[in-house]
């Protein structure tokens, strides 16, 4: 791929330096100059140039070969013998993409004693479920799952493969991509099909400061990990029919090079992980004392929410590391996010600003969290939260 700049055609309108996100174009007399160390060939300048003085030549696609790849696959994550909610979200989205392409949705269900879930994936929108059911897959291991996924993909040639951008999904997908020499886009928040039947993968970068559209023009399948909670699962259709195919994948124990010796749960009984929660009640410095976490925990119980913490709360050891929201913790996008006693430093906002609805309670009216909160209450969280709990209880008893 190369960028060709026709100096003769250029009228010096200076539109292109303005649209370049990478600072690769600078004014040079009455023309422009390109810095190819900075240029990523994103094509923004080409699009904006009124006189077609900028041209990006991309490799020609071998259309015959690409047309062999069909269907939209979802690698369905299981945990403790159950299919995780993110799998249903992805099957719902895959249905939309497949309808657009007039192709099929294939769900890949790898686990041990999880085959009974195949039916639910069909009801969710899958046309076919590939079931790999073996004790070797009871626990997630990078090696066993990589073998299973690659051995399914390579001969069957899907056009698109989606993984949940969960801890395990982001461990597995790059391993598969590297093995097959494929492109992979991480942590997508949007997926579309363009007029060339390509998958347009939309994802945030630079802490959500920019969004990028990414294509995978020359390799198939096109693969993405997709952030949980972005796509809402549609209602299941119990009358929906599909096929279930059992596939045997042989794993030799020597192929599994890691061994899980022990599994430690740090979340107290009944507490939910923040990764896939619909509602998160997050506390910051304003909570003051670990004993005070009883208050957000009570609110969380009413809303079936996960209890999270900002960096200081987790660093103090008041909540386990898995529950930290923010740049050094996790990025979340629940339907509803409560920021209690959180000022809203940029490192925190990076981790939660794509939540659907944000509620903030903080004593300081100048706290930056209010700049992004849909509903902010300036006040003492120890007065406001109990009142909110009471209101919610009233509402729930009315219902």
């Amino acid at each position: 791929m190369v960028l060709i700049y026709d100096k003769e055609k250029c009228t010096g309108c200076m539109l292109c330096p303005k649209v370049c996100n990478f600072g690769a174009i600078t004014k040079d007399g009455n023309k422009v100059r390109f810095d190819f160390d900075k240029c990523v060939l994103c094509g923004s300048c080409q699009e904006v140039c009124p006189v077609n003085a900028i041209k990006i030549e991309r490799k020609a696609v071998d259309k015959d070969k690409i047309a062999q790849y069909k269907d939209v696959w979802v690698v369905c994550e299981t945990a403790e013998g159950r299919v995780r909610s993110v799998a249903y979200e992805l099957v719902t989205k895959a249905r939309v993409l497949a309808d657009n392409l007039r192709e099929k949705v294939v769900a890949v269900l790898i686990g041990s004693d999880t085959s009974s879930y195949a039916e639910s994936l069909i009801q969710q929108g899958a046309d076919k479920v590939l079931v790999v059911d073996d004790k070797a897959f009871a626990d997630y291991t990078t090696d066993a799952y990589t073998i299973a996924v690659t051995s399914l993909i390579a001969p069957r040639k899907p056009a698109i493969v989606l993984f949940g951008a969960t801890g395990n999904g982001r461990d597995l997908a790059p391993r598969v991509a590297a093995r097959l020499g494929l492109g992979l886009t991480a942590d997508c928040t949007g997926l579309e099909i363009d007029d060339k039947r390509q998958l347009v993968q939309i994802r945030p970068a630079f802490g959500g400061n920019i969004m990028a559209e990414i294509l995978c023009p020359y390799t198939r399948p096109q693969m993405s990990t997709v952030r949980p909670n972005v796509f809402k699962p549609r209602e299941r259709d119990v009358s929906r029919k599909g096929t279930i195919e059992k596939v045997e994948v042989k794993i030799n124990p020597v192929q599994i090079r890691t061994r899980v010796v022990n599994r430690v749960k740090e979340l107290a009984e009944g507490m939910k992980p923040i990764d896939t929660a619909d509602v998160i009640v997050c506390s910051g410095r304003g909570i003051k004392d670990p004993a005070n976490l009883a208050l957000p925990t009570e609110l969380a119980k009413l809303l079936d929410a996960a209890v999270g913490g900002s960096r200081p709360v987790v660093d103090a050891g008041w909540l386990p590391p898995s529950q930290q929201v923010g740049q050094s913790g996790r990025t979340v996008c629940p339907k509803l996010y409560f920021a209690l006693g959180i000022s809203g430093a940029i490192q925190h906002r990076i981790g939660m600003s794509s939540s659907d609805v944000i509620v903030a309670v903080n004593k300081d009216p100048e706290a930056p969290i209010f700049e992004i909160a849909d509903f902010g209450i300036v006040g003492d969280l120890f007065e406001v939260v109990p009142a909110v709990i009471e209101e919610l209880k009233n509402l729930q008893s009315e219902r």
Partner: protein, 262 residues
């Protein structure tokens, strides 16, 4: 124990701003730093060396100024550094980056490769596992705790999960990705900074690496960025001030019900 730590120079993302008029990224004046997750990796490698002996080599791929992050790692206590710098490397996606780094690592001796969990600019967390695959060694991601068994042939790590952690045992050589909690990265002291300038820092180009320019950089990248744009800026909504908590709570619950959020 020989440890290789691939690192990345990143902009201090928290300081990257969008120009509200043009919607483009402002990078001027934004400091470049050693990716914070890589600091945990460098620190872990140095601690292993201090305990067991051996050598720590940091490797980065980037423009000439990426040397700065190598000097920081050397100042912290790494022994050697390698800078992969060439125009042919530029524009690489995660696959092409992993390919370039793994080609370099293949030429070296190592027991352990430790990466940061992810870089704070791209946030992909893909390069580590992709390097592991290209080297043909096992990986354990999100490592919060690390111990080497007595015989030096296995490591036992805590791998962070959604609900806690797993204790994982893996035979060396292996690749780990480091996350917060693994250690407290040290700050380089004056002595360290002085010494760093005298430590070996090798520059490698596509020619010295000996791979085809077509398989790396922009040309060798299976993914391409079609477009970048500024996200819609989130704006604050209702803000209640000076109301008694009960009235505020009532309004909030009404608001959430109207949004269908509860």
């Amino acid at each position: 124990m020989k440890v290789i730590v691939p690192v990345k120079q990143v902009p201090e993302v928290a300081e990257v701003r969008i120009n509200p008029e043009t919607g483009t990224l402002i990078r001027e004046g934004v400091p470049s730093i050693l990716n914070p997750f890589d600091e945990y990796a460098v620190e872990a490698a140095i601690q292993l060396k201090e305990k067991l002996g051996g050598e720590v080599t940091v490797v980065t791929m980037g423009p000439p100024q990426a040397k700065e992050v190598l000097l920081k790692a050397l100042a912290m206590g790494a022994d050697k550094a390698i800078l992969l710098t060439d125009r042919a490397f530029a524009g690489a996606d995660t696959w092409a980056t992993a390919r370039t780094l793994s080609e370099q690592i293949k030429k070296m001796e190592y027991d352990l490769v430790i990466c940061g969990k992810q870089a704070i600019d791209g946030d992909t967390a893909q390069v580590g596992p992709e390097i592991a695959e290209l080297l043909g060694i096992p990986q354990v991601c999100y490592v919060r705790h690390l111990e080497v068994e007595e015989d030096g042939k296995f490591v036992v790590v805590h791998r962070g999960t959604d609900e806690g952690y797993e204790v994982v045992r893996v035979k060396l050589p292996a690749l780990l990705t480091a996350t917060k909690g693994l250690n407290e990265p040290r700050l380089p002291n004056i002595m360290g900074i002085m010494k760093a300038k005298k430590k070996p820092l090798e520059e490698v180009t596509v020619t010295t690496l000996g791979i085809s320019p077509d398989s790396i950089g922009l040309k060798g990248s299976p993914t391409t960025v079609r477009k970048v744009f500024a996200p819609e800026r989130r704006k604050g909504g209702i803000k209640i001030e000076g109301t008694d908590p009960k009235a505020a709570a009532k309004k909030l619950v009404e608001f959430l019900a109207s949004k269908g959020a509860i």
